[in-house]
Amino acid sequence: MKHFKAMITITLRKSILDVQGKTVEHALHSTNFTSVDQVRIGKYVELTVHATDAQQAMSIVDDACKNIIANPIMEDHHIALEEISVGEHA
């Protein structure tokens, strides 16, 4: 059994106006960060998972995201997976 750390990024779906992102974008522009654009604000979730291989770990985490961690009606999620040694946390 292998152990993995999953780093999950959740953002509002592109079709939904990210009001918070827009507000921060305006704030950046008004403080002369004019080259910055398309600000999206989201959530970050980190967890560990044990599985036989990376593919199974990815499948478990993706399922967890679709069921609870993210709401697919309004959010997209992106998972980055990294193998860790047993007992290692974060």
Binding site: V19, T23, I68, I69, N71, I73, M74
Partner: protein, 232 residues
């Protein structure tokens, strides 16, 4: 007629719902604990009250959706019995899939606590039958995530099947952009499921049921149900 009011950790309108149904509407009411796994058979309508269940962790209603009582609530709804979700209760209903769509953060990004006007859009439902078509109600809202959103196809179905129970409007009943407090699509304040036995709404009818408070416009939601069940 008996109401069952679910108490989640963080619910804060549960007692208001109990008072409105029992003292103001004159029905029977009992509290139900979130760890319960059955809804007593004498409960006609389950109320998921307002508040901040599980501290709004992850997303509003996301954790409450997987609490033990929710399987029984879903079964209760499948049997055609009544479920009313108010504010956080509406968010729990969308998270659990009993109602379509989601409640996004208010367009203003602010928590809004004030009286608003609602136009009664559908009076053939068991929750609204004691109102008149188009009746304007003054009801308080208190939420940070009440911006109803769903895809175009679902909105089309909701409109076509007349499943929008209440819409935000001005004092004259006009559903304008200015009268929309949170950015909800089509000024939606409350929707029904396809069978009409589940209602979710962001405004708080239970907070305006007592004449002593100067407004009892919300009472009709509860008396409609009592009329439907036939004990009022």
């Amino acid at each position: 007629m008996k109401f069952g009011i679910v108490v989640f950790p963080g619910s804060n309108c549960d007692h208001d719902a109990w008072y409105a149904t029992s003292h103001n509407a004159g029905a029977q009411a009992q509290m139900l604990w979130h760890k319960d796994t059955i809804i007593p058979s004498d409960i006609d309508c389950v109320i998921l009250p307002g508040g901040f269940s599980y501290g709004d962790y992850l997303r509003c209603g996301a954790i409450a959706r997987v609490s033990p009582i929710m399987s029984a609530v879903c079964k209760h709804a499948e049997q055609g019995r009544f479920v009313l979700g108010i504010c956080n209760g509406f968010q729990i209903l969308t998270e659990s899939g009993l109602l379509p769509g989601v409640l996004l953060r208010n367009a203003s990004l602010s928590f809004i606590c004030k009286d608003i006007h609602l136009r009664t859009e559908q009076i053939l439902s068991p929750f609204t039958s004691s109102f008149e078509q188009g009746q304007i109600l003054r009801v308080p809202i208190a939420h940070g995530e009440g911006n109803y959103f769903t895809d175009e196809q679902t909105i089309h179905i909701l409109e076509q099947e007349q499943r929008i129970a209440f819409r935000y409007c001005d004092a004259n009943g006009n559903a304008t952009i200015e009268a929309n407090p949170n950015g909800s699509i089509n000024n939606i304040a409350g929707i029904l499921n396809d069978k009409g036995n589940v209602l979710g709404m962001m405004p708080h009818p239970e907070r305006c049921c007592d004449p002593l408070l100067g407004n009892s416009d919300g009472l009709g939601v509860f008396t409609s149900l009592m009329q439907t069940v036939g004990l009022y």
